[in-house]
Amino acid sequence: MTQTMIRVSNLVKSYGDFMAVKDISFEVQEGEIFAFLGPNGAGKTTTIKILTTLLKPTSGSVQLDGLDPSVHHNEARKRFGIVFQDPSLDDELTAYENMDFHGVLYKVPRKTRVERIESLLKLFELWERRNDPVKQFSGGMKRRLEIARGLLHTPKIIFLDEPTLGLDPQTRNQLWTHVKKLNEEERVTVFLTTHYMEEADRVAHRIAIIDHGKIVAQGTAQQLKEQTGGETLEQAFLALTGSTIREEEATSVDQMRNMARMFRGRRR
């Protein structure tokens, strides 16, 4: 019998007057690959942050494997792995050290840790480079390392927030092949966001589309296409969310990151 892995009911997150997430509800079953799609600023990342204990909801409830992450933080945190939208590796450490750091933080026993780091680094084709500092890695290698790291503690759920952003088609293709394989072999529930509709179409069992903080449609890729009369998922997506471009203000963090990038050349 399958079990509900993620349950979100009437979730609201507001910042002052602005409501980033407006009363959304959905469920993801165990072993499912669930795509959460939407234009920039639709509320995808906010939802992921709430699910992963980084933000507290304004109202509504969230359950991961039956646990409320805002109450049982640490129990809930053990159950998921996450690949964030932007990098979260320590560039000064080697690939192996980044993995080991994660393993220790998640209390993976030493023996299992060593074995699993080896098998995951081999799976993601990074074993040869394990002793190189991450700052020497390409974007694709970093992403692979982050996914490998997210899976190290054998989570039940893995969150992938735009994992293929800025990667070439070869790397993207390979990455999704790995994700599908892991989903089939380890029965990991996958919660993903992406802007590449064909990726969602290819890997996701079910899709939810969010726009302006509300879920506008849910179902399989096929159902969404039928519902809108679009031939591709991209057409269905545009039919549901319109074709206006969403302007997103650069946050102070984005600005800082740009400055840091310029500065980094001199600093390192």
Partner: protein
């Protein structure tokens, strides 16, 4: 415990690997020792106060630890910018342990840097009264290190970028250093300045170091150590609280 250890280890590894930073951070204390030490030395001597290097060296040791510690605490902002902070915040570890691990790591780095400066001080002619004071001096340095790493962490928990960093440097860290008695004697100061020096926690750190190394404590060793201990504990608690409230 393993969480504290791995966070400590990470901070120390980052330090050991950034050789330019180690060397750069030694330039300032060296300049202070030479320019001020030898520059003001003759005046100090003529005023009947003895050898200025002897007086200044504990102040420069405290300064090194202060700046390295604050900077290590503030480094939290880098981790926030480069995303690594998220990795530690979603881990199934109580935030307070993450904060303690980071702080101990930062304090260790500040201590290493401070001990290098102790050696430099000896090289430019500083001499202790008696070696028996050295362990107490190390305790004082350690307390300064933990105190200001915790302060840096507390401040960094409130800032989301480096916009406010210069403000913190100019209106908090610099005054803490310059008004602490690291460079001058605290007796006979104008009233207002004397009050400021009395509430500056670094004053007690510098004074404790002087008491331990050259036997000249203005406030008295017992008071110095007690104040350092209380303020360090208070800042650790504040830093831990602010850190645990970070939302991204």
């Amino acid at each position: 415990m393993s969480a504290i250890y791995i966070l400590w280890l990470r901070t120390v590894k980052r330090y050991v690997r950034s050789k330019p930073r180690i060397i750069a951070a030694l330039g300032q204390p060296l300049l202070f020792l030479i320019a001020l030490g030898f520059g003001f030395g003759p005046i100090f001597q003529r005023a009947g106060q003895g050898n200025y290097i002897q007086f200044l060296a504990p102040g420069v040791m405290a300064m090194t630890v202060l700046f390295t510690a604050i900077f290590n605490g503030i480094e939290l902002i880098w981790d926030r910018q480069f995303g690594f902070l998220k990795e530690t915040l979603v881990a199934p570890v109580p935030r307070i342990l993450v904060m303690i691990g980071r702080t101990l790591g930062g304090a260790t780095v500040a201590m290493i840097q401070g001990l290098i400066v102790v050696v430099i001080c000896f090289a430019v002619g500083f001499r202790v009264n008696s070696w028996s004071g050295l362990p107490l001096a190390i305790v004082a340095l350690l307390l300064i290190a933990v105190m200001f790493t915790a302060l840096g962490t507390a401040i960094a928990s409130l800032l989301s970028d480096f916009q406010g960093f210069q403000l913190v440097m100019n209106f908090l860290v610099m005054p803490i250093f310059f008004l602490s008695g690291a460079l001058f004697k605290l007796d006979g100061l104008p009233k207002a300045m004397s009050i400021v020096a009395d509430i500056d926690p670094l004053s007690y750190g510098v004074d404790g170091l002087r008491g331990a190394l050259i036997g000249q404590a203005y406030f008295g060793m017992a008071l110095d150590m007690a104040v350092l201990l209380v303020i360090t504990t208070a800042l650790l608690a504040t830093g831990g609280y602010l850190f645990s409230r970070i939302q991204l």
